[in-house]
Subunit: 216 residues, 2 copies
């Protein structure tokens, strides 16, 4: 009879993923409130009944989409620190390189699901705020780990707090994407990232060597 191997008509895992993918794509562009469940279903090629079978409500798929984005990001960034033999300062340089690479994708606006949902929903959807907060903490923890290691290796006497610097960099990254989008000038993001990397490198310069700021 008809083959059953390639395209099983039922595939809950795939349906779920398709719904999440559609949600990410749409909300990344329009935000949460402006994205309707009908629209998500149409984009995913799934009916509304099916939608409410997989997700309790709109907020629930919103949370799943933020989680998905977090995992996607972590996988992307992991390349920076996966080689644990690498000098942590070079890991940080890779980290910045990954972010710059993210701004350079063709025909893709440089924006972040976590940043968008945080901005729009922090004050009205506590569960969403918490999920976004968690994802930002993850980024910060990874960044702080590299900063602490780099500090231990290169400038143990330096006075900066790795976690505070990590939050600073996270804020700069989020704000840069926001401003880059509003100005339609992704170059601003890259310029900001370069300034920040230079600053971090400055923080990590050995304190006993009276090195002037930077070579122009």
């Amino acid at each position: 009879m008809s083959e059953t191997s390639t395209k099983p008509r039922r595939n809950p895992a795939e349906t779920r993923e398709r719904l999440i993918g559609a949600t990410v794509r749409l909300m990344l562009r329009q935000g949460y409130a402006a994205t309707s469940v009908d629209e998500i279903c149409a984009e995913a090629g799934v009916t509304k009944g099916s939608f409410f079978h997989h997700f309790e409500n709109k907020e629930s798929i919103g949370r799943a989409a933020v989680e998905w984005w977090g995992a996607f990001g972590t996988a992307l960034y992991a390349e920076a620190w996966e080689d644990d033999e690498l000098d942590p300062l070079d890991q940080l340089r890779r980290f910045f390189g990954i972010m710059i690479g993210f701004t350079e994708r063709e025909d893709q606006v440089c924006t972040c699901m976590v940043g968008m949902m945080s901005q729009e929903l922090s004050q009205t959807h506590p569960a969403m705020r918490e999920e976004c907060g968690r994802q930002l903490q993850l980024w910060t923890a990874n960044c702080a780990r590299m900063l602490a290691a780099a500090k231990a290796r290169h400038a143990p006497e330096a006075g900066f707090d790795p976690e505070a610097v990590a939050w600073y960099l996270n804020s700069l990254w989020q704000g840069s994407m926001l401003v880059g989008k509003a100005e339609d000038r992704p170059g601003i993001i890259r310029s900001n990232l370069r300034l920040a990397l230079a600053w971090v490198e400055g923080l990590l310069q050995k304190t006993d060597s009276p090195n002037p700021s930077q070579p122009s």
Copy 2:
């Protein structure tokens, strides 16, 4: 008959302002899409007919609200540079002081209308994106002016570009408010601002004086 001096039943200017005020309050909390015209009217104590008499549509009052916020902000920041006798570096210190003060208001979430509308609408409402872009440019121009003056006075040889640094600071400020909100930790914003000010002061240190970084 009834007196007409104190409370004229009709006052288009005041009605307009009430509508804009209500819009700012509501959208600052809920964002654009989640704020309905009915809600705005209720908050302002104005009927819907009146609303559509004063504003063509929802987007139009959104733009007006962003403009209002821009003027409000500029008035707030102006205190930093209004004394043009003051050392521009001290003007910058005041500038940061104003931002820190903004985070310290009681029972008020530290957030920005321009940042919220930029994040939510940049990719779908071109007119709104442009208005937000304009407001961000204003902030940046004011900031860059102070930076350029401070550079001319304190470190004319320094290699930084005042405008690039101003965009950097604008991005950091926007991102800090975003992260501070998502983490419900306004302290992060203040920490970021302090780090940024120290960095700016570092940039402005005379290149010939071998001054060590900071007194811890």
